[in-house]
């Protein structure tokens, strides 16, 4: 990057990525060997294993033909345990990401190691990005391991190899899960930059998660009802109200993630809203969409997750750059 003039007139020199490599490797290694990571992994495996085991048990009794049987491991919610693997992931991933990121910066503050690190030839840019990427890589490794376990269990217990398109859809699902984790990792990183106390940071991150997970759906539906006309006269009016509810719900990353997953793992999904009777005519029910059409369908959701991750990280970056680090 070319040298530029900063706001305080100081010259910026060198690439902001200098020292990114060591910070990333150190963070990655620290995460993988930490006791916290072990606990999180255990948590994830236990929460993931139950729905997978239950859905596999149910799938083994399925006799009807299903060309996407392998993907049903992820999405089927057996009667004995009314949560699917995907639903479990929907709330495990934020907890994992928050657990990995809530003390990323402020613990260095509290241990008084931040100024020591920054006295090395490492810029603040690289430190924050390295910490974020280290967390994201850890998350990716954990999710990929979990994904492989599920696929392996499916191979063993169903005794049928997944088709190429199923593997491709599964891989896209893994990428969506990592992007979803990235949003929450960036958010927890933001709180760790804002608050000096790790406890406050963790509390705020978990509070935000609880807000989106529990409160936001209710608020969104309350707003939708408030805006809806007292009497709905036509299908178009109903669709408009439904559309408003969907737009509001999509502010929550969890909604974006679950919609992306539904589009990917249920190939029959054509739309997330209702279809007008006119649009329903001639539809072949249950016909799966090709993968590229499914990707186009969920592309806004994926885009939203990735863009949200980048924007939240940018906010954390701006705040971190303006902070006093000497202590």
């Amino acid at each position: 990057m070319l040298p530029r003039r900063g706001p305080r007139g100081s010259k910026r020199e060198g690439s902001p990525f200098t020292g990114l490599g060591p910070v990333f490797m150190k963070e990655f290694a620290d995460h993988l060997s930490s006791a916290r990571m072990m606990v999180l992994m255990l948590f994830v495996i236990v929460f993931g294993a139950f729905p997978v085991a239950a859905s596999l048990q149910q799938l083994r009794t399925v006799t009807e033909q299903d060309s996407y049987l392998f993907l049903r491991i992820f999405t089927s919610a057996p009667e004995s345990l009314p949560i699917s693997f995907v639903f479990a992931l929907n709330f495990i991933i934020p907890i994992m990401a928050i657990g990995l990121g809530f003390d990323a910066v402020n613990s260095e503050f509290n241990r008084r190691t931040l100024s020591r690190v920054l006295s090395q030839p490492i810029y603040r840019d690289a430190l924050l990005l390295g910490k974020f990427l280290g967390g994201l890589a850890t998350l990716a490794v954990a999710l990929a391991a979990l994904w492989l376990i599920v696929f392996g269990a499916g191979l063993l217990l169903l005794g049928l190899p997944p088709r190429g398109v199923e593997v491709a859809r599964g891989a896209c699902f893994l990428l969506a899960a990592i992007a979803y984790g990235g949003v929450w990792l960036a958010a927890s990183l933001l709180f760790s930059v804002i608050f000096r106390s790790t406890a406050t940071s963790a509390l705020c991150a978990l509070g935000l998660w609880l807000f989106f997970f529990l409160l936001w759906p209710m608020i969104a539906s309350a707003i939708t009802i408030g805006f809806a006309p007292s009497q709905i006269h036509s299908a178009e009016q109903y669709l408009a109200v439904e559309q408003l509810g969907l737009v509001l719900a999509r502010f929550s990353p969890g909604t974006l993630f679950s919609e992306a997953v539904v589009g990917l793992l249920n190939p029959e999904t054509r739309t997330f809203a209702s279809m007008l009777p006119a649009q329903m005519r001639g539809v072949i029910p249950g016909a799966p969409l090709p993968l590229d059409q499914s990707l186009i369908l969920i592309w806004p959701q994926i885009t939203g997750l990735i863009a949200g991750m980048i924007v939240v990280f940018a906010a954390a970056y701006v705040i971190f750059q303006r902070e006093e680090v000497r202590a």
Partner: protein, 388 residues
């Protein structure tokens, strides 16, 4: 005056005659042995049956012992009553008893007449005799006849041609008649009894009787228009009879709508026209005129045919039809079913087409743009706030 007397005489005469006849009837008392044909022909080496009736007119019933005399040597004649050999018969007053003579003629019997007398004797001096003349003759050949009321029928390749024919046994013996028919290749013929539904290959016919049978001819579906003869043959013991029936088959066109390679699916992008090539084939036997193309597609979709109408399609002729389908602007990606139809008078063919609707990738590019904007914000932050 003379004329009047003649007229009166003419009027009176029949009355006098009939009164005299009625007065004669009660006089006919007695016991009689009767047969329709007292002189018959029998064949060497064969068994003939002669029906005889013992009539009792106005006498008290009495057991009548039966006996035969004059039976030539080597011949065997049994007296049967009710199917069993009997030795005597007892008809009631003014009643009759049926008897049969079973005549078994030896193979080496010489031609010529033989006199056989059947006599019945009662215990009270009543008796009756019946002389029979049996002539050993040469064998009369079996003879069959075959007639049809409607020997020529008209229809399409898909109609059923049913001919009613009457088979007659004109010989003196019961015959089992074998039925067969010869038609052009791949024409199927079946025989059924007059009103029955069972398929038969032969039918027994008593001597001198006729029977109605039905012949059903099924032509192959792809038969060309024209006249087709079918030769019906009946045969029994060397006797045959045949009859020629005719099928006048008029042609019928048949439409078949498909594509060149038989694939009935295609892709279409939302809001854009996609063209598929259909192939219309006439695999019938006559030309189909004034064919109109039409299509049923989901709401707000557009469908156009080129050509929209076809004036005439000869048998075995193929014609390509372009169909242009435009999904509605608000259609949702996925699989839809549309059906294309070719309709002519009395003939139509439908092809169901599976259309995979795809969305344009334009919105995908917009998403990438949003990510690019987010990255630009980050780069701006780096440039603005970066500390080196």
């Amino acid at each position: 005056m003379r004329r009047l007397i003649t007229l009166l005489a003419l009027l009176v005469a029949p009355f006098a005659a009939s009164q005299a006849f009625a007065a004669d009837l009660p006089v006919m008392q007695g016991l009689f042995l009767l047969t329709d044909y007292p002189a018959q022909t029998v064949r060497a080496g064969e068994i003939s049956t002669i029906r005889i009736k013992m009539q009792n007119s106005g006498l008290a019933p009495e057991a009548m012992a039966l006996s035969l005399s004059g039976v030539p040597s080597g011949w065997k004649i049994d007296i049967l009553g009710g199917g069993q050999p009997v030795a005597s018969a007892m008809p009631g007053q003014n009643e009759s008893v049926g008897l049969q003579l079973r005549v078994e003629v030896p193979k080496d019997a010489k031609p010529g007449s033989q006199q056989v007398v059947l006599s019945a004797k009662g215990s009270r001096l009543q008796s009756a005799e019946l002389p029979l003349t049996l002539t050993v003759g040469t064998e009369a050949p079996a003879k069959l006849s075959l007639k049809s009321r409607l020997p020529s029928l008209r229809g399409t390749p898909r109609s059923a041609f049913e001919y009613s024919v009457t088979v007659g046994n004109d010989s003196g013996r019961d015959l089992t008649v074998a039925l067969s028919a010869q038609g052009p290749a791949n024409f199927q013929t079946t025989f059924t009894e007059g009103f029955g539904s069972n398929e038969i290959s032969s039918i027994p016919i008593e001597a001198g009787q006729t029977k109605d049978i039905k012949i059903k001819v099924t032509p192959p579906r792809d038969v060309k228009a024209g006249d087709y003869p079918v030769l019906v043959k009946v045969a029994a013991e060397g006797a045959t009879a045949d009859l020629r029936v005719t099928l006048q088959i008029s042609g019928q066109g048949r439409l078949a709508l498909s594509t060149k390679d038989g694939r009935l699916s295609g892709e279409a992008e939302i809001g854009k026209a996609s063209t598929y090539t259909l192939v219309l084939n006439n695999d019938g036997t006559a030309a189909v005129d004034e064919i109109e193309m039409a299509g049923t597609v989901p709401t707000n979709w557009k469908v156009e045919f080129n050509p929209k109408t076809i004036a005439s399609l000869a048998p075995n002729e193929k014609r390509e039809v372009q169909v242009m389908v435009t999904p509605a602007d608000k259609a949702i990606a996925g699989d839809y079913v549309g059906s294309f139809r070719a309709t002519a008078r009395g003939e139509s063919s439908v092809a169901d087409f599976r259309i995979t609707v795809t969305t344009s990738t334009l919105w995908g590019l917009a998403g990438i743009g949003i990510i690019a904007v987010a990255l630009l914000v980050l780069l701006g932050a780096v440039a603005r706030f970066g500390r080196r």
